[in-house]
C-alpha cells in the first residue's frame, strides 16, 4: 500500500503532529511518501520518522483549497490509496477537501492503526470509541495529535521537487498573533498540562499555576467558567466545548470535574486531581489525587519538582 502523508512544517522542520502522521502511516504497513508544501530544510525529519521519500513543493500556499489540490495530485502521482494528515488546524482544513477530490471515505482524528479498512476513533467527546469501516478504495485519515509516537530509526529520505496546478488562491493570511508569550507548546499538542478552575478564586492567583507549569515545562489550561469570566484567555479553555487535549500528564487544581470538563481531558494518560473536596467528581477520573488547598499544594509541588531537578 502506498501512502501519501501531508506533513506541515515550521521553519523548514516537520511539526511533531506531522511526524506522528508519517510514523502512523508507516506502522499501518504503508510505503510512505511525505508531501511538504512551503519551506523545507533537508528532509525535514520525515525520513527518520518513516518516510521513504519526500515530495517538496516550495510555493508558500496559504489557501488550504490549493494545498488540497496539491495533496490529491501527489497522491495520484504516487499511486497512493491512503492519505494521512495530522488532525491539527491545517489538517482539518486540508483533509476533508482531499477526501472529496479523491472520492475517498474519510475518518478524522483516528486513535488506532488502519487494519484492513477499519480504524478506531473517539466519539462522544471521548466518552466512547467507534470502529469505522472505510468503504471506498481510496482512504483518508487524520491522526489525533499526541496519540501516536514518532519513530526515529528511519534513514534520511530523498527529496524530490514536486509541481502541480494549485488553482487560484481565495484565502490569504494577513497576520498572526501568538497566544502564549512564553512560547509553550500549544494545548492540542502538549505533553504536560497544568490546569486550574474556579477553586483558584480569581485571576490574581494564577501565579502559582504559572510557576508549576513552568517548573514542569507544561502548558496552562483552565475550566470553562474561568475563561467565560475573563480570568483566563479563551484558548486555555479545555472541555467538551473547548479544546480537547491528550497529554501524558494532566494536573487539575480547583476543578470539580463536571462531565463537560472531563469530556475534553479524559484521554490524558495520567490525571492528577487537587481539590479541597474529597467528593469532587474529578477524583473518580483521576489516577492520583491530593485532598488539599491548591494555594498550599501547588507551591509545594513546584518546590518538590525544582529540588528533584
Amino acid at each position: 500500500m502506498n501512502c501519501l502523508t501531508f506533513v506541515p512544517t515550521k521553519n523548514g522542520q516537520a511539526t511533531k503532529a506531522g511526524l506522528e502522521a508519517v510514523s502512523y502511516a508507516k506502522q499501518c504497513g504503508a510505503t510512505v511518501t511525505a508531501l511538504v508544501v512551503g519551506e523545507l530544510n533537508g528532509d525535514g525529519g520525515a525520513g527518520a520518522a518513516g518516510a521513504s521519500k519526500v515530495l517538496h513543493m516550495g510555493d508558500n500556499l496559504q489557501d488550504e483549497g490549493q494545498i488540497a489540490r496539491v495533496v490529491a495530485a501527489a497522491a495520484d502521482a504516487e499511486g497512493a490509496t491512503l492519505v494521512v494528515a495530522p488532525h491539527d488546524h491545517i489538517g482539518r482544513a486540508v483533509a476533508p477537501r482531499v477526501a472529496v477530490r479523491m472520492g475517498a471515505g474519510m475518518v478524522p482524528g483516528v486513535t488506532g492503526l488502519l487494519q484492513g479498512s477499519e480504524v478506531k476513533k473517539n466519539v462522544f467527546s471521548g466518552k466512547a470509541m467507534a470502529h469505522v469501516n472505510i468503504e471506498t478504495e481510496k482512504k483518508v485519515v487524520t491522526t489525533t495529535p499526541n496519540a501516536f509516537g514518532v519513530a526515529s530509526d528511519g534513514a534520511a529520505a530523498s527529496v524530490e521537487a514536486f509541481a502541480a496546478d494549485a488553482g487560484e488562491a481565495r484565502l490569504t493570511v494577513k497576520g498572526f498573533e501568538a497566544s502564549s508569550e512564553d512560547g509553550s507548546v500549544p494545548l492540542p499538542e502538549a505533553v504536560r498540562v497544568v490546569s486550574a478552575g474556579r477553586g483558584l478564586k480569581g485571576p490574581e492567583h494564577w501565579g502559582i499555576v504559572e510557576e508549576l507549569a513552568q517548573a514542569m515545562q507544561a502548558t496552562k489550561a483552565c475550566s470553562r467558567p474561568v475563561s467565560d469570566m475573563g480570568w483566563r484567555p479563551h484558548h486555555e479553555h479545555v472541555g467538551q466545548t473547548g479544546i480537547t487535549i491528550r497529554p501524558d500528564l494532566y494536573i487539575a487544581a480547583g476543578i470539580s470535574g463536571a462531565i463537560q470538563h472531563l469530556a475534553g481531558v479524559n484521554q490524558s494518560k495520567v490525571i492528577v486531581a487537587i481539590n479541597t473536596d474529597p467528593e469532587a467528581p474529578l477524583f473518580k477520573a483521576a489516577d492520583y489525587g491530593i485532598v488539599g488547598d491548591a494555594f498550599e499544594v501547588l507551591p509545594k509541588l513546584t518546590a518538590a519538582i525544582e529540588t528533584l531537578g
Binding site: 476513533k121 468503504e135 477524583f283 489516577d287 492520583y288
Partner: protein
Amino acid sequence: MHFRGIESSVLTYLWGSFDVVIWALEVNHSMTMKFLVCISKAPDTTSRIAFTEGDTQFDANGVQFIVNPYDEWYALVRALELKEQHGGSVTTITVGEADCDPVIRKALAIGADDALRIDANPQDALHTASLIAHHAKQGGYDVVLCGKETIDHNGSVVGGMVAEMLDVAYISLATSLDLDGGKAQAKREASGGLETVEATLPVVVSAAKGMAEQRIPNMRGIMAARTKPLNVVPAEGGVQGTAVSKFELPPAKGDCKMVSADAPEELVRLLREEAKVL
C-alpha cells in the same frame, strides 16, 4: 471506487458536478447577504452514553437532544449578528429525520428566518456534506456557516467537504468573522495563536469559541418560531464513504491513588517512577 449502494457512474457524475462553478457566479455581491447555517442535533452534554443492537447503534433512550453547541452558540448567532449589520436572511439547514424538528425550532426561536431539513438519516460526513452541498449550490448563499465540530462525531469535517464540493474558500476554526465588500475577514485558530485571514465570497466558515456570545431565545422568538417555515425536502445527491461497524466504551478507570497534601514529593516520585510521565 466503491460506494455502498451507489453505482460508480452516478458517483462520477456527482463528483463531476462539484466542479461546476455556476453557484459561485450566481452569488449576489450586494450588501444583502444570504446566510446558510448548518445545524445538527447532538445528545445533551450530560447524557449517559450507551449502545444497543450489539453495540452498533447509539442508545437514544431517555437522551435529551440539543442543538450542537458550536452550531448554536457561535455559527448561528454570528450569522444573525451579520444579518443585523448587513441585511439579508439566515436559513438553517439540517440533514436528519423528523426527530430533529425540535432543535430546528430552537434555532428558529433564536432568530433564523427559515429552516430546511433534508430528510435523511446522516450516514457519515461525506453523506451529510454532499446533501448540504447539493442544496447550497442552488441557493446562492454568500456565507455558509457550520460549527467547529459535532460533539457526538467529533469530526470537524463537514464544512471542509462542503467547501470543496462548492469549490469555494473555507475558513476553518474561525474565532471571529466580518464581511466587507465581497470579502470575509476572520481570525482562526492556528498553532500557538490566531491567524488573521481574508477570503473571497462565497465562503464556508467553521465557527469556534470566541465568534459570538450565546443567545437565549425569548418568548416572542419562541412564539414566532412556531409559524416560521420549516421546509422538509427529500434527500438528493447523497454519497457515503464510511460506516461505523461497532461502538465501544472506554475501559473502566482504576482507583485514584491518594497522596497526602503534606507530601508533594511523594506525588512527584510516583509520577516519575510509577506513571513515568515526568
